[in-house]
Symmetry: C2
Subunit: 888 residues, 2 copies
């Protein structure tokens, strides 16, 4: 190809030339090559646009090249641009590599002026059509090429209609419209500072230049930045012969999908309008008719469309989204592209196209968006109902919840445990509310962010949660909340959508969702492809079982702190914390031991045959005590209200302990292995419980649990060395007592930057690394999640300072460097070191793919995200393969 070739006829291009010809143009060229009827035309390349962007002018020879291709078009159509007798009319459309709202879209009917409009009127025998086309052209050209406010034309149109008493645009006569074109030209000249260009060739070059310029307009730049599209791609310009769907009752226009984009049914899904242009379908002024009805009015065209549908699906091997126009019974295709679809549709189409032999399993895997899989798993609000939105908070845990509003955890438990559906509404929740959450359909808080207690616990339980719904004014004592004038009392029905954060009044209908066979088919293919293992984060047997159903291959993170927070244990936990001596503390720990052993017993049975990674106690101890401020306020209350001395003294003792344990920054305080190092008896109890449970399960089932013990928050090799020694000593003592041999491994979380930076040292003490990217994100970015979400992070996202929430999508540039470094340094010492991730990123597709690329062995995520992670892991392999093939 000559370096100066900037223009391609449709017949010269193909779909593989998207970078040069843009998406739309390449597909028009492809269809032309397939013999599908496309109005002839040519494409000015993205390279020409890039030159124009840089230099503010056409490259040398472009003008001549355009005109040469124009003459070719004139010869082909036997029409001539600007010829009053047989005027060639053109559509000019931008067409970037990626679809780009914000850029100039379309100028239709280019080539019209006061002379050629007469030729069009004569040629079609339809002056009204000709002048309607002309006034639309001036309007569009004035707006998108010359920058005139389109409202001015709209106002003038309405004025004209009022003058002549026309109700609809179609009531205007040819003469009315001719008059309007004159007025439009005046408006244009007054507002653009120059006359409407009568010369069609001038119109053409002005329109092409306007498309080029639109690449650099503000909206397009902002959009590109938000989507990560490079600024130096440029857009192509499609110059195409006009065809008219509005030439009477043998003309029409339509849009269609080659399969149903909503359900995936293999059904030709589309709509058409007779005597109309494409804009009319989109504008919704007239009601379009189902495609099948074309059989009555234009059976031949419909037959031809069916054939083209077949051709396109076979050719593109994917469901297509098409646009067409019929001009006096002649069918023209104006667009084809891969169609967008819902999650169920994507799955159904992919599986059926594999069955049809159209695509391979690997291609099918790439056709499903992993993040959509999530939708399929949670019960959904029935979309076919009208709901009154009361308020909108943060969509903190997806899913729909419907129940009676209750305002305390106790009431939620009382009513919920009897089978009554309730939704718990709270200012915010705390560990004391867990029993209430367990018995609710969902939880709504007026405070707190995506990581508030309620949100974290709800996600863990797979229950919907809306956090920080600030418009809710909650009156706990009166048991009601209000939003503006609306009041919801105790027991009133409310509904919620935990994905969008919307709270609804009343009892909404739910649609139960579940995995159908198609999903399992696709996930089965994913399992054949992926290398990354997928585990789950689960703290109890139910979650473990659920995750196994979804395909989890083990537990990557079993937190032990939620176990401490259950009602019957909390008193022992608090006594243990208040203990003044090691002996006293050991006595209270001994009471917790049977509970912990039972926890692990259930989990080992649920995960029989699969590895279970148990993290020893992680949160700071004050999390198990009452809130500091509330304690002090209560103390003041007791003192001032003359409470009995012993009650005041007890509260004083509590207040002293709470104060002593209170931390300025608990995230960076006495937690994780820092607990185990200062109070080894706590970790020793947990290790004992784990190994005793393992021994019990072995004795009972004959199968050995796969035990992995994980030490949290390690930053120094010596920390892990000491905790490993404690673990091994305790575990081996239990095994000796029981007289059994059960293998176990000891590893650590990599969740503070120093651990990643010194992973080569830490690996000496570790059998495995699990990257705790929640905390690693907090420390690496210096973002406290509790303080960021709903506050400065929300501001950052709203003002586009950040493109995504780093707690949802892994910050690959920053945090990702540490993960990669941790893996590389760890393996430099232990080549076979097992590595995984157990932050919430383990269930987010782009992050899962990153984990694959840096060579982790597994990701671990909440049960409901396991399918998503399986698919994303497979896609990562396929993307890697594609990249390496592309590099060949």
């Amino acid at each position: 190809m000559s370096p100066s070739k900037y223009v391609y006829d449709f017949s010269e291009g193909n779909a593989g030339m998207k970078p040069l010809l843009g998406g739309k143009g390449a597909n028009l060229a492809e269809m032309t090559g397939l013999g599908i009827p496309v109005p002839p035309g040519f494409i000015v390349t993205t390279a020409a646009c890039v030159y124009y962007s840089t230099n503010g002018d056409y490259p040398a020879g472009l003008k001549e090249e355009i005109e040469e291709h124009l003459h070719g078009l004139e010869a082909l159509t036997d029409k001539t641009l600007g010829d009053p007798a047989k005027p060639l009319l053109l559509s000019i459309r931008s067409g970037a590599v990626f679809s780009m709202p914000g850029m100039m879209d379309t100028v239709l009917n280019l080539g019209l002026n006061d002379d050629t409009v007469e030729g069009l009127a004569d040629g079609t025998g339809n002056p009204r059509f000709a002048y309607d086309s002309y006034r639309r052209f001036i309007n569009m050209f004035g707006d998108v090429v010359m920058g005139v406010d389109p409202q001015l034309f709209e106002d003038e149109l309405n004025a004209k209609k009022a003058e002549v008493g026309a109700g609809l645009d179609t009531d205007l006569t040819a003469d009315d419209l001719r008059d309007l074109t004159a007025r439009y030209k005046r408006i244009l000249a007054e507002n653009a500072g120059e006359q409407f260009p009568a010369d069609p060739m001038k119109q053409l070059h002005m329109a092409i230049a306007a498309v080029f310029k639109s690449w650099d307009n503000h909206r397009a730049k902002v959009y590109r930045r938000s989507q990560g599209i490079p600024d130096d791609l440029g857009t192509a310009v499609n110059v195409q012969t006009m065809v008219f769907g509005n030439k009477g009752e043998t003309s029409g226009t339509g849009v269609a999908f080659t399969r149903d984009p909503s359900t995936g049914e293999n059904f030709f899904y589309g709509e058409f309008l007779m005597n109309a242009q494409g804009e009319d379908v989109v504008a919704g002024v007239r009601h379009p008719r189902p495609l099948e009805e074309m059989r009555e009015v234009m059976p031949a065209a419909l037959e031809q469309l069916y054939a083209i549908r077949e051709t396109l699906e076979k050719h593109y091997r994917d469901m297509q989204d098409i646009e067409f126009t019929i001009e006096e019974e002649k069918l023209f295709m104006l667009q084809t592209r891969n169609g967008k679809r819902t999650a169920p549709a994507a799955l159904k189409i992919a599986v059926e196209q594999v069955d049809e032999g159209l695509i391979t399993k690997e291609e099918a895997l790439m056709r499903v968006d992993p993040s959509q899989l999530d939708q399929l798993l949670h019960p959904r609000l029935d979309p076919n109902q009208e709901l009154q939105v009361l308020a909108t908070g943060l969509g903190a845990s997806p899913g729909a919840g419907v129940g009676r509003a209750v305002f305390s955890a106790d009431e939620a438990e009382e009513r919920g445990s009897k089978g009554e559906p309730v939704v718990l509404v709270r200012w915010e929740t705390n560990p004391d509310d867990i029993h209430g959450l367990m018995h609710s359909q969902g939880v709504i808080t007026s405070h707190g962010g995506m990581t508030s207690h309620a949100a974290v616990v709800a996600r863990g339980m797979g229950k919907p949660c809306i956090a920080g719904a600030q418009d809710l004014k909650i009156d706990v004592e009166a048991k009601r909340f209000s939003v503006g004038d609306a009041v919801v009392n105790d027991g009133d029905w409310i509904s919620m959508d935990g994905a969008t954060g919307r709270v609804f009044l009343g009892q909404a209908a739910l649609v139960q969702a579940g995995f159908d066979e198609k999903v399992n088919t696709v996930l089965g293919w994913a399992d054949e492809v992926r290398r990354l293992r997928v585990r789950t984060n689960a703290d109890n047997p139910e979650d473990a079982r659920k995750a196994r159903e979804f395909g989890a291959e083990g537990i990557g993170l079993c937190r032990t702190e939620h176990m401490f927070m259950q009602e019957e244990r909390l008193p022992h936990v608090r006594n243990m914390i208040m203990a003044e001596t090691t002996e006293e503390r050991e006595q209270h720990l001994a009471k917790l031991l049977p509970f912990q052993r039972a926890d692990f017993d259930g989990i080992f049975r649920a995960m029989a045959g699969l590895p279970v990674t148990i993290r020893l106690l992680d949160p700071p101890l004050h999390e198990f005590l009452p809130n500091y401020t509330e304690t002090m306020v209560e103390l003041e209350r007791l003192r001032l209200t003359g409470a009995p001395a012993e009650q005041v003294e007890a509260q004083e003792a509590l207040a002293a302990k709470v104060k002593a344990l209170a931390e300025a920054n608990p995230m960076l305080g006495t937690r994780g292995c820092r607990l185990g190092i200062q109070w080894p008896e706590i970790y020793a109890m947990q290790v004992r419980a784990i190994l005793e449970a393992a021994a019990d399960v072995l004795a009972d089932t004959g199968e050995k649990p796969h035990v992995e013990i994980m030490i949290p928050l390690v930053g120094f090799e010596e920390e892990l060395k000491r905790m490993r020694a404690l673990t091994v000593e305790t575990a081996d003592a239990v095994l000796k007592e029981r007289g059994v041999q059960i293998d176990y491994t000891v590893g650590t979380m990599i969740e503070i930057p120093r651990a990643a930076l010194t992973a080569d040292e830490i690996a000496r003490q570790a059998d495995f690394f699990s990257f705790g990217t929640n905390d690693l994100t907090q420390t690496t970015l210096g973002f406290s999640r509790d303080d960021a979400e709903g506050k400065f992070l929300t501001h950052y996202l709203k003002t586009d300072l950040l493109k995504s929430n780093p707690f949802a999508q892994l910050d690959q540039t920053g945090v990702g460097q540490l993960v990669a470094m941790g893996v590389q340094k760890g393996r430099s010492v232990k080549p076979e070191l097992k590595t995984g991730i157990c932050g919430e990123h383990g269930g987010e597709p782009t992050s899962v793919k990153f984990c694959h690329r840096v060579g982790l062995n597994y990701v671990s995520c909440s049960p409901y995200r396991v399918p998503l992670a399986r698919l994303a892991a497979a896609q990562a392999v396929l993307e890697e393969k594609a990249a390496s093939t592309a590099g060949d």
Copy 2:
């Protein structure tokens, strides 16, 4: 040298062979070579020890080699090991490369047995001396070679004394001692499980092997780990002819320093004892006499010592610490090594030795420990007084304070401003207490750690502070505190040492310290050598002036938040925070503007001609509001005590704002540039104040301030990009208004890991980087300083999990990696990027040297640490030079 040479006569070695011969042996060899009288002997090398450590046995040929050298010694001394007629007696001492307490030290009189003791008695004509030597030998040998508890020998000695009615050891007769040797041998045999070896050759090999083994004993290992000494060095063994200082009134022993180690005076400083062995001087049983008194009793030996002193100082070119023994008027040197000294002594000696032409300036610079310089600057407690220690807290800010105890900031101000010395005693301090701190001699808190408010502010002010003195039970209302039985009432005198954290009862005497000319001489030499610039952290003109006196070359960190906390400004700051709209906030900021401008005006004048880096507002806004818990308690109090409705409502409004701004982890919350991004008007006011002040100073003095504006807590390039744009826009507007041109630069703190990891991106927006290693340590290690010090970090240091406090001494392995990465990545984009450090590490010697090695341009530290940093920076250059020479 043959690979099998494991033994060296003193005459074969020299001081350069320390790695092979150990420190003591190499110096004995060196003195032998200098012709100084040393009891002859030989050295078994460290290499032999390493072999023994690894293989548990002598290397082949070692036994023969030792015996060969022994025979040489016998020939030289005309005595023979084990010869009852002329017995050769030996001392066996360990001698590692670095002095190592915890290893076997010495066995004296080796070679004695029931036969040779008689020979010794005959040869000396002193049976008592012979048997006393023998029983001491069995005791030592039993203890250090055969592992018998020395207390058993001690008990037996006392039993014998009781039997014969002897008061002192010296009351025992030769016969008593002979009997005791028999008893000792029995004790030894019973407890060691084998007989005392009568064969002197066996004694010798057992002693040598015992020294080898002591290298691997627990105490030695722990010590090496704490000092970072490698485990594979091994120790040498010195085998030396015994000389006796206890052979009567013509014998003696002593230790001396060639100059006064306390003051540095060029004065022969030492002590001696007549008729005594070395142990007696150290044990302090008898009172040693000043060296000069030897002139009366042994003038010749003293003359000889003076000559040796001269020889050794000239030869070693440093002050020496020596040990000697005089045996029947004959002088023997037993040890020489470089002497330890105080800071003033180190300075005086170094400067005088340069004057004397003994050493170069560069050598002098290496002779002063930078961390000692700190001592010279703060007033000190007079060491010549007896003080009653009341309690010990954390030494949070060095220096001595003496004053009357006061219990509130207001009282401190009231009495302090009248010139009465007061020490402020508080539970903990807050910003409201600043005026009290300013008028106190020091502050003591019973809570909080090294970075508590009191500690930070006190260090900034150069005032002594003791934090977290938990033993103080403070009763604020009664204005007193107690420690155990001691009670200190309001107005009672107390004293404090902020370096050691000790609180004393009563009015201690102080010694005023100041830089003498020697210090300035050494620092002048340092300035000639160092490449690293030294700036200061200063928030006010007084600190700036003080730092300039100490040689600061600019301000590296001028915090602006302390300015906000002053009494007359706080109301405006609080109004600004409570503002509901931007306009309202701007009105309150306008009231702060004149204050800020005046702050910068004073600082620019004090630092005329030097750069001033001003950091825009950094702390979270809630730091300027009352404490959350206290606010809620007060609200409860007002409600329950029936306060007027308007008072309750005002408190409710305050409580709501305080609650809204409260953060779970303020360290990782809305602070730094996150403030400027959300409320740009705050930073705009500050930038305006800076540039207006600069313009004022220029107009007034004709000299342009060197303005550097620093944006804190940047983690993303886009943050700095926006804040830089805001800064430039505001600054240029001011300059345009004033019609002047003043250059300024805009840079950022690198204080969260992501900033270092993406320094190549951030550098695109920055004129300079300043590493904020305080916060970088907190985030990289996940250590909240407030929650670590006094809590888990103290535990870590106490249990040797960490070797040093990472907030005092930079964690080079972890945090240091990020600093190095930040510099390297930043300069990869901007080779001329100016980089510095402004954390407290900028005033700690090992950290300053690290900063030099990674190529920073400057360090910035508190005014009192500027001299220390200047010296450390020079030493870094010299160490680098030495290393590169060593590598040649």
